[in-house]
Symmetry: C2
Subunit: 145 residues, 2 copies
């Protein structure tokens, strides 16, 4: 993982949680290969100040894993990195939107997007029509979820 820049932005306009986190939405910049509209939402995750500073310095998405309690470069194991094209904060400064170029697929299950599971209005799962983009066993060295 790269060095943290010596001078970090202040992030004064952002509102982190008491745990020091901020919500991050990751959206596809390039047209999706799934046939779904361009601008597909790929994933939702959390960042802390260091993850945000590293993301801006490297233009590659970094997150904070709440379960593993560690900083995480997206694609570090799989090679499926996310290169930031543009980013936005929302009107009250407690959520961020990153528009990225996704290498491979975003989801650890092999799908392009973590939001691959459509639901009916009765909250029942729809059939997933799209194919996986990669084999998770090959990408992560673990059995497919």
């Amino acid at each position: 993982m790269s060095e943290v820049p010596s001078v970090s932005p202040s992030f004064d306009d952002l509102r982190f949680t008491p745990d020091g986190l901020i919500a991050a939405i990751i959206q596809q910049a390039n047209p999706s290969e799934s046939g779904l509209p361009a601008g597909r939402v790929l994933m939702f995750a959390w960042m802390n100040r260091e993850a945000l500073a590293r993301t801006l310095a490297t233009r590659k998405m970094h997150f904070w894993s709440r379960s593993r309690k560690q900083l995480w470069l997206k694609g570090e194991t799989s090679g499926h990195t996310q290169e930031v094209v543009t980013w936005y904060r929302d009107c009250d400064g407690d959520a961020l939107l990153f528009v990225v170029r996704q290498v491979g697929g975003a989801c650890h299950t092999g799908y392009e997007s973590c939001f691959f599971q459509g639901l009916t209005f009765a909250a029942a799962p729809e059939v997933v029509a799209e194919a996986k983009r990669f084999d998770p066993a090959q990408a992560y060295g673990t059995p497919s979820a």
Copy 2:
């Protein structure tokens, strides 16, 4: 606000926080009038089980306001409702994506999206090039934020 349906879905596949909340990303279904790509991300908010049940029953987005501690029909005051077209859960069931038809604009400031503020890689605000979609004073009866 409409009645809660007598038989609610169980939401067994969803993981709510200890406070009973789940993250919700709202994305534009119809082509944006801003010139930005279709599928623009409009807002990020939180839902509880009741907000989700009402959303599915009425097909209009309902949220839980953490600051006001109350259920909230999006557009109740402004008329700027969000009609759900499709919805998805993410791979670990702790975030939802709703693709909606937005009436008017999503942001209380008058912009189409709450994510109107682009930022540089030094985290400085970019000039906002797009125009507001509506006058917040007129929509909410309060001065513009």
